[in-house]
Homo-oligomer: 386 residues x 4
């Protein structure tokens, strides 16, 4: 059985999701290259040691530079905070390692382009963590578009609605600080929507956006890790430097028009990551909170029974259905990471670039920045000019 | 313009619904016979006079026997309490009037059969008020069954769930007294389900039921009209003599099997009047709270896009759609009565019996009583034996 | 019984809806001023005569100028095409008649302001036909906002999705011609969304929009009335001069942000007229295709049972519920017009302006034009500058 | 770290699900006893060897009797076909092993009682695989019942609808043969509903059922494993000896009434495993196809905002939420097995019987057989008499 030796950097939310993907892969996809969970790396030796044991990594280290140099490592999987993606990815590429990097690729378009140049110069394989592409219901949407079953595309609308910081006393965690997170809802949630648009519809030619920070100051956190944190006792506050919500309108190269909304202030929505496509022959609607379902409509259905169908993407005809459970038995969030890892392993086996890769990461960053420009300039921005 | 002169008895909930149907009919169905709102009849002179003015009747009376004798009346529409249906219908038939009677036709199977005999002997037209047949979404279900698009029928399940008497202090209104109402949820709600089964699937051959009265005593009402009432001040209580819930299993003559549930104790359900049909080629699901919609599934849909479609029965292909509003603009409860009246007027014009008529009323009563027998006998009952 | 004598101009889609409202009103709202259906007016004598009989008007005429002068007319109800609203409304006001005008008030902001000046100068009552305000579920949303139960408002998003012209062979009806219709989806559908925003959230301060015409040429119609038409035989085509879809972003005076989308190219959506509000304490979601329902979420629900509630706005606590049917028995599209008429009658009785009135019509027109400016200028436009 | 050495018998559908549960458990529940995946056992040496490698078992064997005798095995997990459960479980208990047995416990009530006696005599721990209890949304329902938040329970209705054998050419697999499977939809699907009823509501006192086999003959399979099979070439047919659908009515000891339906002929339903509870204070509705959701209704909600809430059971307040992903990120079918394994490990650690155990298995079997008696006798059957 062929194996690929992995070194992973970061062991929080994404590190856990990726670790589990590698752990499950050989059981459900036994014919693929097996990811060997070699070394996990993190800053805190006690915590990373614990994570190694818990997740099933053979070794751990606190020195990512050493890790990258090891001859017995084939691929570096980057789940560290966004502000260190660039340095690690470039160094890893220089060391000849394949790179799997969580989104967003970097904090700026410039940085992401340097990363792409580095992996291309090194000739290594590279992938970016847009996991939502790998929900079978999303893959069905892609199939319907690609086979022309939705016809010419007119509309794409996408919205990623969360409410986890609706409480004004929720503390000023790193995700609310521009210097670490790059942006707020825009880079965190909007990035997923943009990638989905690229995947399903194609290139975006111009954009026009707006953003807002509803709660402008928040309590400084007394500690902060992953997604959770606790407020400071003294009640001292600091400025929120990222957007709470960012919306934008867009034109696609193929003539379709789009609207995008990313917000952390949509009360009642835990993680409504949705899109709708309207074409000349049909439409689809997806909502990640019901990730096994795709609503599908066809213009040419018999005239007395036209309506959106609720397709449960667990039938034999759907992606990965042979691997999981019988029809009607649903899968969850973590499966999108397993499927991502499968694509990575398949690409390595077939000696091709996985998809989505750093090109997709750069393209996403380009739109993110174009939107930011349009917000600052209060006008439309041509994406290709960036 | 041809007209039919109507005398209506009863002016509460159903009287209002029927009056509105006659009032709207000439506007939306101008080519049909027009119902002339001649005389309305009720026991309380002040109230019936007010109803006449409000609803648009030309005259009112408190004497239904006089009303029936009038030469200028062609049709008697009975919306009085169930315990007086029989006498009125038979007298009206004897007087040569057509009869439109609200459901349930009578309190007993025997009575309903006498009513049917009377209208047949008199050679008049007769109709029974199973209004739910006339929702366009239900008519679509019927069409799919009749055209064989659902294939051979395996399952029919129907449930009518309400919660209006969930409060133990809700008073002992007439609908909770066996001598006036005949039965509780069974005759009130179950009757609609049984008629729907007859309409959509066909004859029921045997049944087996159970029923329960959860709240066995209730405050005597200080007054009581229509659906509302207020409890007595003194808190005196009386026994509830009807069923709060009745369930039964059934076999149909065509081999299908069925389950039925009628209850007034389904907390949270205001009026969930639903059915589902499963056939060898497809299925449909209906819920009256979303009465413009029918969920439709076809086995032969392409294998990657199989799922229940939400069909909004307001398209050009659906019943009565030319008369109402553009596609997507929904209609409401009262429209089922307008459509019932349209069927009545059409039948009169074409000199045929309207559907559903007293035959359907008797058939419904037969199943209602068979279920009661099965409850008493704690065993299956052959419907045809009654 | 007090009465108000009505003269109506126009007898197609809206004329029918308004006529039915007046016809139903005295039956369901007997204590209000009664609308007396005096005269209906249209250009085609045969058709208007037929409409008069069918709808229940006492007289008909083809001369709206004569109609306006009649002493026995108190109110002019304008349902004619948008391009003649202005002249009729101003003349009617000058003649001292109250005016109820369908939306959009006029083709331009300037015209609508002249209309407002005219009714104010004349001291008459004026109303504009934003009927969707009068769905009980929408009124519940308004109540929750006004009582502060949603807290501070962060987001308003609204989308009106239709698909009736998705077929490229659908002919070039008047609604697709700028000189008659003013605009396409923007003025037809977007206007309703804008009014809903004004009603529920408040003033819009700035906007930024985009629009698109997907099918740029269509067959010339051989005839055209109301919403339907048939294509020309020869297949000659003409240019579509209105927008198929218009989207815009907005800021509200109170700090909320909004997104709006109106389109006739949302395949599968017959009439999805929807909005969502997210506030600091709660959220609501409305969809006109399920117009009796409001999804409601509260932040302070017990932590283990938080979720959007599907509220059926037919309970005793909801608007107009005493007038219609028991809880769970739904109403339809036409009821929004009946409720509009009730507001008009109540305002006349109480000698106050009805709401929404021409002020709301002008405000809506102002935003519509601001969006058009923003599209032409490709930048944000300050609404108050217009 | 404490460990428990497991020997598993069976490696198909359930064997895979259980294996994965043991594999995932140490990663997500690191503080619990770790299940050591020691030996897997099956009849076909090549296949079981492959399964061992794929699933992560240290060894494999084809001799379950040898396996049971091994000193280094603490627990036997039985996923073999139902007809061999009894022998294995009893032998394992005699050998002093804890036993985790898939449902149904046995083919008959008598057999299941012998199994219970055996494990009790041996003093070992025993568990039965009613995995659906362990969906967090189901656990929320249980919590609401137990805390009295639904009040006195009136109604329980449960339906498990599938359509995998709707095709008459689907072959005669072992699940359609009484001698191996015991029964059809009744024991396969109905058993889950009955256990859910026991878990949520309590003991069932009497039942009355019906069943039907719609397709009475099917092609003999040329081969048959797990859930899939292929029809014989020659088209030879054999009799289906199990029920395609079984329905029954029930009374609970606490006064509630229930209806149950299990069918494999509900066209369009891949795996609709649902229940609804109506109580004096509230109601809940669950559908396994949307297993992360529970619909919840409370009578004491403010009167203008009453309605079923869609609760996504992924919030901090819900079971296992700390272990999985952020709120709104759903889990799938396989997680019910992981949670089952957690209960088993916890019980072992705390030296108590896990729940559900063989008592629950016997109780379920008792109701299954009571229903079969009622079908044969065509009358109500007292469950306690069996």
């Amino acid at each position: 059985m062929e194996k690929i030796n992995i070194g992973m950097i970061g062991y929080k939310f994404m590190g856990k999701a990726h670790s589990h993907a590698y752990r499950d892969l050989p059981m459900f996809f036994p014919k693929h290259i097996h990811p060997e969970m070699k070394v996990i790396c993190g800053r805190n030796p006690k915590d990373v040691a614990e994570a190694a044991t818990q997740f099933g990594w053979q070794e751990y280290t606190t020195d990512w530079k050493e890790l990258i140099k090891r001859d017995d490592i084939d691929l570096i999987d980057i789940n560290a905070p966004s502000d260190v993606h660039k340095e690690i990815a470039i160094e890893a590429a220089k060391a000849g390692k394949h790179v799997f990097c969580e989104k967003p690729l970097a904090l700026t378009l410039k940085d992401s382009r340097e990363m792409l140049e580095a992996v291309e110069a090194a000739g290594v394989k590279h992938m970016v963590g847009f996991n939502y592409r790998f929900a079978p219901a999303v893959m069905l949407a892609k199939k319907l578009v690609d086979e022309g079953r939705l016809g010419e595309i007119y509309h794409f609308r996408a919205w990623f609605l969360q409410d986890w910081i609706i409480d004004p006393d929720f503390p000023l965690v790193w995700r609310l600080q521009k210097e670490i997170a790059g942006s707020g809802s825009h880079g965190d949630l909007g990035a997923h929507l943009i990638d989905m648009a690229h995947y399903l519809i194609g290139d975006i030619s111009e954009v026009m956006g707006m953003s807002e920070t509803f709660i402008k100051e928040r309590p400084l956190p007394s500690n902060m890790t992953g997604l959770t944190a606790t407020g400071s006792q003294g009640g001292e506050k600091g400025p929120v430097t990222v957007d709470d919500a960012t919306l934008f309108l867009a034109r696609f190269a193929n003539g379709a028009i789009g609207s995008f909304e990313a917000t952390r202030f949509a009360t009642g929505h835990r993680s409504t990551n949705s899109f709708e496509i309207n074409g000349s022959k049909g439409s689809v609607i997806f909502d990640f909170e019901r990730m096994n379902e795709l609503q599908v409509y066809f213009v040419d259905d018999k005239e007395d029974v036209q309506g959106f169908r609720r397709v449960l993407a667990t039938d034999a005809a759907h992606a990965y259905s042979d691997v999981w459970w019988p029809a009607g038995h649903t899968i969850g969030y973590e499966h999108t990471f397993i499927h991502s890892a499968v694509e990575l392993m398949e690409a390595l086996k077939e000696d091709r670039q996985p998809v989505p890769n750093f090109h997709d990461g750069v393209k996403c960053q380009q739109v993110l920045e174009a939107v930011e420009h349009s917000i600052n300039e209060r006008s439309w921005v041509d994406v290709s000019k960036l």
